[in-house]
């Protein structure tokens, strides 16, 4: 049996969640691998949530928010846009492929984009294979070198 990734999606209530809703009502097809957690804003996505999801066995985490400038809360998605790269670096430091965490913009009317993003992300994770956390050991020297490098 082929590998079916388990994905967690954090969807902003106003754009992406509505977009996902629309994809549903429009009967658009997308892989069932992603489980959705609704948050009010992509700015609510605490990096801890992403780590928690990965720790609990998610193979990838997708964060979807409103397009820049369209945030229901004016600038929540900008906060998210700042936080995500840091989170990715953090994840990378833990030996996890940073591609397993992704931020995308999906507006309320972009049902087709939603299904495309989910499909593409699922395929990407499928290629990456399951996340094996037990492989990871903290390499202090490498981490320090990385810090030095940055």
């Amino acid at each position: 049996m082929s590998f079916e990734p388990r994905l967690v999606g954090f969807l902003c209530n106003w754009c992406s969640y509505t977009g996902a809703d629309l994809a549903g009502t429009a009967r658009m097809k997308y892989p069932p691998n992603m489980r959705v957690i609704r948050v009010m804003c992509s700015g609510r996505v605490d990096p801890n949530f992403i780590l928690e999801a990965l720790a609990h066995g998610a193979d990838g985490v997708l964060v979807l928010g409103c397009h820049p400038g369209d945030c229901h809360y004016a600038e929540g998605n900008y906060k998210c846009r700042k936080r995500l790269p840091i989170t990715k670096r953090l994840v990378e430091g833990m030996g996890i492929e940073p591609q397993r965490v992704r931020l995308e913009w999906v507006s309320a009317s972009e049902a087709s984009r939603f299904s495309e993003v989910v499909t593409e992300f699922t395929e990407q994770i499928r290629v990456l294979g399951p996340l094996k956390l037990e492989d990871w050991t903290f390499d202090r020297a490498a981490a320090d070198a990385q810090l030095e490098h940055n």
């Binding site: 700015g43 609510r44 998610a58 400038g69």
Partner: protein, 585 residues
């Protein structure tokens, strides 16, 4: 100053002491000829045509100029005695001997019974009445022109007969000149302030348009003589209600309100960049707004449909979707164009005999009664061509007589290319969001979509309100819409604003952020994160507090709090962790 009674031609009249006889006579509608008198300038007695005979209080009889002779108690004035008339005739003939027969002089001569002055006519068109010099000095305050030389060589000119820097090109001298000796001419590098000094749409003081609300004139300080020289104020003298206040200026006022309705409307797409339609380059290619203006009874042509030369067009092409439904400009449909284009066709058919061509992509007659109107237009002999107008070019010489403009299009129903010669082209330009919509939106916490229109709270369930409480949308600022829709939305916005204000209290969402005072370290990170300024810092307690009335529960603060002190109710960390666990178990 006291009032005195004088008698003019036996009629008593009460006038202000020291006021001039001429004005009193004008009040009594007694005609006294004059060439150098003007209401807003001090009398000058240059033309000597307003001579009257007076009997003063001591009984002396003498001839005086009525324009500058002050009234005194018991003064008797006779305006049409043989002696008076003879004097006027003599003065007129002497004036005529040096002046050219300008219409105003010829008419006056006829009135005085002089067809052929005994010393003939002269050649000078200037009668040296001095109106221009005095208006420039006393009214305008520019003092750009004056008299030069003396005696027979006396002339009106600028200092040293060179172009005067002091002249503001207001044209007042030309307007008061009775003979037309002074004319306004274009001179390079300087703009004539008024082309017309009469009250009209181009005057410095005018009502913006006939249906303006409030329907009151306003002064354009850029063109008003007063704001350039500090003089004039003639309008204030004319106004019987003393309404004109030149000292009034714009003020900024702060008003406390309970709700705001944004109704900033749309702007018209400028079709100049769409070079294929030749707007601004080819004559008689106009926008729908310009056509609408022309059709207005208060418009530039009094409601007549005319071409640039003033003749009626023989054929008109109406091009739909200029800039709308166009990937290069606006992908959306502007909604109103189809119906107003049909209305245009109807108006053209009603007012002229012109042939009308409608070039459309799709005809969207979507509203109540709209389809019926469309059907009616079909019976009026309008040519409907399915196919967007591709190009407007000058017609080749061979087809010039059919129409100077050639509209190229693909008739998708007939399945062929067409070239239609027409006299006039109307471009149905797209409705665009206001240029500064984004800035306005930011001021009111309303976001704008990709096209620049304000985004409503919900496309179906909240089409009037916005994501900021108390801010409502009405009309085309939210998206292209026609008048009934705009009126409906305006009504709804007003009702929602009213209901918010009448209640006196604001309904809150149960979800909001709360601070756990025991955990908050007072780092103030959240203060900066909050887009609504809902989190303030309590200096005494050294911790941050959430104002629940301002909080919109986005949770940005909760995600950013390093000590986990802020909880977004209904979306707490625990709840989301539980969700993660749940869906991955």
């Amino acid at each position: 100053m006291g009032m005195v009674t004088i008698r003019i031609d036996g009629k008593p009249i009460e006038v202000e002491e020291e006021s001039y006889i001429l004005q009193a006579a004008q009040t009594l509608a007694i005609d006294i000829p004059t060439l150098c008198w003007y209401r807003y300038i001090n009398p000058y007695a240059a033309c000597r045509l307003c001579m009257v005979e007076i009997t003063d209080k001591r009984g002396r009889v003498r001839m005086v100029t009525s324009c500058n002779f002050p009234a005194e108690a018991g003064l008797g004035v006779r305006t049409h005695t043989p002696r008076v008339l003879a004097t006027r005739r003599m003065n007129f003939e002497m004036l005529a001997s040096r002046c050219a027969p300008a219409p105003v002089l010829v008419d006056l001569g006829k009135k005085l019974g002089i067809e052929n002055p005994r010393w003939g006519w002269g050649e000078d068109t200037c009668i040296l009445c001095g109106l221009c010099v005095r208006v420039c000095d006393e009214v305008v305050g520019a003092q750009a022109i004056g008299f030069a030389a003396r005696g027979t060589s006396r002339t009106v000119t600028t200092p040293f007969e060179v172009d005067s820097e002091a002249c503001i090109l207001c044209g007042a001298c030309a307007a008061v000149c009775p003979t037309g000796h002074i004319r306004m001419e274009e001179c390079s590098g300087r703009e004539i302030v008024h082309r017309e000094i009469t009250l009209g749409p181009n005057a410095a003081i005018s009502v913006p348009f006939r249906q303006a609300v409030p329907n009151a004139p306003r002064i354009d300080p850029e063109y008003c003589v007063h704001f350039r020289t500090g003089g004039c104020k003639v309008c204030a003298q004319v106004c019987p209600m003393e309404c004109i206040d030149h000292e009034d200026e714009e003020r900024r006022e702060e008003i406390e309100v309970g709700a705001v309705i944004l109704a900033t409307g749309f702007q018209d797409l400028d079709p100049t960049p769409l070079k294929q339609y030749g707007y601004g380059k080819l004559p008689n290619v106009i926008t729908s707004m310009e056509f609408e203006r022309m059709n207005s009874a208060a418009g530039s042509t009094d409601g007549k449909i005319l071409m640039e030369g003033g003749q009626e067009p023989r054929s008109i092409a109406i091009l739909h979707c200029i800039g709308s439904r166009d990937e290069k400009h606006h992908p959306y449909c502007s909604r109103v164009c189809c119906m107003y284009a049909l209305k245009f066709a109807h108006l053209v058919k009603e007012k002229t005999t012109a042939e009308v061509y409608q070039l459309y992509i799709d005809l969207r007659s979507f509203g109540k009664g709209y389809e019926e109107f469309f059907q009616r237009i079909l019976t009026e002999g309008v040519n409907l061509i399915r196919g967007k107008g591709a190009e407007v070019v000058p017609a080749p010489q061979s087809r010039r007589d059919e129409g100077p403009l050639l509209v190229r299009c693909e008739d998708t129903l007939a399945g062929r290319f067409r070239e239609i010669p027409v006299d006039m082209v109307i471009l149905c330009t797209a409705l665009e969001a206001q240029q500064d919509a984004k800035e306005t939106g930011r001021k009111f916490g309303v976001s704008v979509g990709a096209d620049g229109w304000f985004i409503e709270r919900h496309p179906k369930l909240g089409p009037v309100s916005t994501t900021t409480d108390g801010i409502f949308l009405a009309g085309a600022c939210q998206g292209p819409k026609d008048i009934p829709d705009a009126v409906a939305q305006g009504g709804a916005a007003a009702a929602q604003a009213m209901s918010l204000m009448i209640r006196g209290e604001v309904e809150m969402d149960a979800a909001c952020a709360v601070v756990d005072e025991a955990l908050c370290s007072g780092c103030r990170l959240c203060n900066e994160l909050c887009p609504y300024g809902a989190i303030s810092f309590d200096i005494e307690k050294t911790l941050s507090l959430v104002n629940a009335a301002l909080c919109k529960a986005c949770g940005t603060c909760a995600a950013g709090c390093p000590s986990g002190a802020i909880k977004g109710l209904h979306f707490t960390d625990q709840q989301i962790y539980a969700e993660i666990e749940g869906i991955l178990s």
